[in-house]
């Protein structure tokens, strides 16, 4: 199908100029054995009309969160996205631009990232943010590497209450390094602070925590901070950016590096990506930080402008001595996040967080009032995600609810083999009382039948 603009006449003229009689001759320097000769394996394309038909068919074979009532979270949340976000993302000035290596013709992207950095740093109560990482999990991994470099130590303490999939990413990133990863126990749904205290020593590069944690519980960041007595050990928190405008900010609780998954900030679920890795830190660590950082400066006429700065940390300059190999990051997703944050604004984002909490607490109370369902961690506070323990087969309950068009949540057993029949339920501002009441009714109905449905 037409993609290249060349007419036959163009091609002939260009070949004449080059002194060749066919385009094939341009490839005569490829040795015969390295040439691809299985012509029969190559297929022609189809028209745009046919492509869209195919794509609609494939799309229709997937179930969306709108086909259900979604209580599924675990790091990806079904939140409201104002229409203006996609209108701005659809501007080719943003989405077809390259990385801003030529700042004179990239001020739109550069200024926008400066604003993005500001908003993310403010959400976490931190001093500096970078221009993004691939996703929350890789941001956490890069934070761990940054701590190892900064402290020149080799031991990491990771709480068992960090999402196990994300821990797996950290482990994969660190594979090949001489690093000792020590897990901190979980106790009653939160980090076992005494176990942490026992495992901290003067070889510890960093302590890694999630806030609220993978079970939805709000960790006591201050207790962790207080236990880190060695001045060199860094405190890394992977924090929910929406919760962080409602509960105490990790930056205010003494975190040195705060990272997060930014999907909730105006980015569609898209089967897990593209999402957005948020990465913030104390300014004193800037030379060890990974990724691009944008700074404000002036042009030759004294006019305000923005540039990529501290580039001597990066791979295109430092090569094997770079702080990270990251090059392309999640540029356009930072536009989504900054537009979302501007639209929701100071009061709006707080309302998103508070409403989600109140709705989650409402559902929590209704569900745990049912005989057959109890709170997994009854004395622990959560923001908008909580775990309940089903007396009986939680998997069967989940399957039953799916037939009734509810995505009931995540069976924690998949990630925590010891957590049998625990269901992790997330509630966002999108859920209504009617939906939650219907969900509770269906749970009650299932349990009344003794889980035999």
């Amino acid at each position: 199908m037409p993609y290249t603009p060349h007419t036959e006449d163009d091609i002939r003229q260009m070949l004449d100029f080059l002194g060749y009689d066919s385009v094939d001759k341009l490839f005569k320097d490829i040795p015969a054995k390295a040439r691809f000769k299985k012509e029969r394996l190559l297929q022609p394309g189809i028209s745009e009309l046919e492509v869209m038909t195919l794509m609609k068919e494939l799309s229709a074979k997937n179930k969306t969160v709108d086909d259900y009532v979604c209580f599924m979270g675990g790091g990806a949340y079904d939140r409201f996205i104002p229409a203006a976000v996609d209108h701005i993302l659809s501007r080719p000035e943003f989405y077809t631009a390259y990385t801003p290596y030529q700042p004179e013709v990239s001020q739109g992207t550069l200024q926008h990232i400066y604003e993005f950095q500001t908003m993310i740093a403010r959400i976490y109560g931190m001093e500096v943010a970078n221009a993004s990482m691939y996703d929350g999990a890789s941001a956490l991994a890069e934070a761990a590497i940054m701590a190892l470099h900064t402290t020149k130590r080799k031991k990491l303490l990771i709480s068992s209450t960090v999402n196990p999939y994300w821990i797996r990413v950290v482990e994969s990133y660190l594979y090949g390094f001489d690093t000792e990863i020590v897990m901190i126990d979980e106790k009653g749904g939160e980090t076992d602070y005494e176990d942490l205290a026992g495992k901290l020593d003067d070889r510890t590069a960093a302590v890694l925590l999630q806030y609220p944690n993978a079970l939805g519980i709000v960790e006591e960041l201050q207790k962790v901070r207080d236990r880190i007595t060695d001045a060199k050990t860094l405190f890394i928190v992977m924090a929910d950016p929406v919760a962080s405008v409602f509960i105490k900010k990790p930056g205010d609780c003494g975190a040195d590096i705060v990272v997060g998954e930014g999907q909730q900030l105006g980015i569609p679920l898209s089967f897990g990506g593209p999402y957005l890795g948020l990465f913030t830190f104390r300014e004193k660590f800037i030379r060890q930080a990974p990724g691009r950082i944008i700074g404000m400066t002036k042009d030759r006429n004294g006019k305000r402008g923005f540039v990529m700065t501290y580039q001597t940390r990066e791979q295109h300059i430092r090569r094997e001595k770079a702080t990270s190999n990251i090059c392309t990051n999640q540029g356009l997703m930072t536009v989504a996040a900054a537009v979302y944050l501007s639209l929701m604004g100071k009061a709006g984002l707080r309302e998103v967080a508070e409403q989600s909490h109140k709705k989650a607490y409402y559902l929590y109370r209704q569900l745990t009032a049912l005989p057959g369902i109890e709170a997994s961690y009854p004395d622990k506070p959560f923001v908008n995600e909580f775990s309940v323990t089903v007396k009986g087969d939680a998997g069967a309950l989940k399957a039953y609810l799916k037939k009734k068009h509810f995505l009931a949540g995540i069976l924690l057993e998949h990630q925590y083999p010891g957590k049998k029949n625990e269901l992790l339920i997330a509630v966002t501002e999108k859920r209504t009382r009617d939906e939650m009441d219907a969900f509770v009714r269906e749970c009650a109905s299932f349990l009344k039948e003794g889980g035999k449905k």
Binding site: L26, P44, P274, L343
Partner: protein, 480 residues
């Protein structure tokens, strides 16, 4: 200059409201002591403020839909609009990553089919879409190097990278704990075989290479290179940044590579987004399948599923499955062009590059004067005597309404200008580009100060990068 969004802010202004929350719903009293009663200082603006702000900012950007982007190694080809429309279908964009396999059969079928097409194009045996960009694909590949030798019980501590390689190659090697050996290029711009033979010992895990290389030259010795590396038990990694030169013409799998990464945001027409999101799937040969990050997509009967069972897997590099929204766009491109169309894209990309190379080689300087593939590297060194540097030439190009090429890279060419026109520029556009480059060469001789002052027509003139480091201003500090 456009104001900062923070400078639009007025206390009490709102852009978006939420449905009213049921009065009976209250906060959990257990949470009280964790609540921060202060509001986070974010902007307070109207929707119209936001639109005007971002539309104003957008006008300050150069982009593919505005004009030519001859950025070497970046493959800034046109991004078809149907890609965008298709990726926004709700069956792709509104799917939760923890969905059950039965609810994502369309997505899995798409990934499976795209993998099939990529296998044809690359000659590899199995793919994962998990890496989010080329550099993360490299990371996946190099972790596989590491695990492969660990499981074999071989202690290999080094990786060889040519001096013409992308900066991500050595940076990635370091991220898997390897020491980097840099080997020089030969006089044809390819890998120096004797240097490779000398460096390739049993302490070396392998070689990272792109072919054609960053000079845009196809390395004729590629099969010998592969043999040297394999003879010593090493692995060969293909940096796919330059695949746009040889789709359907020469496959990394047939050249002897064991692992390849592709840049869907270069070769497969998905947009760069001002620096991402990209997608950097990697493909491996049969003997490395079990090392891929999990999960991979498999098919049993008519049912597709996510397979987590790879016993030697390096683990996970992404919280979920990668930048799938980008993968969807690349799929649309591949289906629309077909693999035959992909070959045609590479043929026209190389025709364009050779045409420009021959038109410009006398006006500038061409260090490696031979048939190129999809890109070529000029040198601006001959203008040094007028006090003009490559940077000045690049900045002057902005005044003429084209984006600058990749400059000062690869490092082996003095005052390098690396030009990749891509297949989507017409002969007429290329001719205008030649006129511009000719005019600039003329200006460099006659009016070097004009180039020193350039750019003169852009929203800002040259920026003080040193001041940005000396007095860092990385976030807005005003009150809101």
């Amino acid at each position: 200059m456009e104001r900062l969004i923070f400078e639009y802010s007025e206390p009490g202004r709102r852009a978006v409201g939420l449905p009213r929350c049921d009065e009976q719903m209250e906060s959990d009293p257990r949470l009280n002591r964790y609540v921060d009663n202060r509001l986070t200082p974010l902007p307070e603006v109207s929707e119209q403020d936001v639109m005007r702000h971002y539309v104003s900012l957008s006008t300050l950007n150069y982009h593919v839909d505005k004009g030519m982007y001859p950025l070497g190694s970046c493959t800034m080809k046109y991004n078809p609009k149907v890609n965008e429309t298709a990726a926004r279908l709700e069956g792709f964009s509104h799917v939760h990553p923890y969905s059950a396999d039965e609810d994502i059969q369309g997505l899995l079928a798409l990934m499976f089919d795209l993998e099939k097409e990529l296998k044809v194009i690359t000659g590899m045996d199995k793919f994962t879409f998990q890496p989010s960009a080329g550099a993360q694909g490299e990371l996946a590949g190099i972790k596989i190097f590491r695990k492969y030798f660990d499981l074999k019980g071989e202690k290999r501590t080094k990786i060889i990278v040519p001096d013409s390689a992308h900066g991500t190659n050595p940076a990635t090697s370091a991220m898997a704990g390897f020491d980097v050996i840099t080997i020089p290029s030969n006089r044809q711009g390819g890998v120096d075989l004797s240097a490779l033979e000398e460096a390739m010992t049993e302490e070396v895990a392998g070689l990272m290479l792109t072919n054609p290389n960053t000079l845009g030259l196809f390395d004729k010795n590629i099969l010998k290179i592969a043999a040297i590396v394999h003879e010593k038990g090493g692995l060969l990694y293909y940096d796919g940044a330059n695949l746009n030169a040889c789709m359907g013409l020469s496959r990394p799998g047939d050249m002897g590579f064991d692992i390849v990464h592709l840049n869907l945001h270069k070769t497969f027409s998905t947009p760069h987004g001002g620096g991402g999101p990209g997608s950097g799937p990697i493909g491996v040969k049969e003997h490395l399948k079990a090392f891929l990050p999990v999960p991979v997509v498999e098919k049993k009967g008519r049912r597709y599923y996510l397979d987590y069972s790879l016993e030697k897997s390096i683990g996970k590099l992404h919280g979920f499955f990668g930048n799938i929204g980008v993968v969807v766009k690349a799929y649309v491109y591949v289906k629309k062009l077909g693999t035959l169309g992909l070959r045609e894209a590479s043929r026209m990309a190389c025709l364009n590059a050779n045409y420009l190379q021959k038109k410009l080689r006398k006006k500038y300087h061409l260090e490696y004067d031979r048939l190129c593939k999809h890109e070529f590297v000029l040198s601006g060194a001959k203008f040094k005597k007028y006090g003009v540097r490559t940077l000045d030439i690049a900045k002057r190009m902005l005044d003429y309404g084209v984006h600058a090429p990749t400059v000062y890279f690869p490092l082996i060419v003095d005052e390098a200008l690396m030009i990749e026109p891509t297949e989507t520029e017409s002969k007429q556009t290329l001719d205008r580009f030649v006129d511009i480059m000719t005019a600039i060469a003329e200006e460099a001789r006659k009016n070097p100060d004009l180039l020193h002052e350039a750019p003169l027509t852009t929203p800002v003139s040259r920026l003080d990068e040193a001041a940005a480091v000396k007095e860092p201003d990385l976030v807005y500090k005003g009150d809101l």
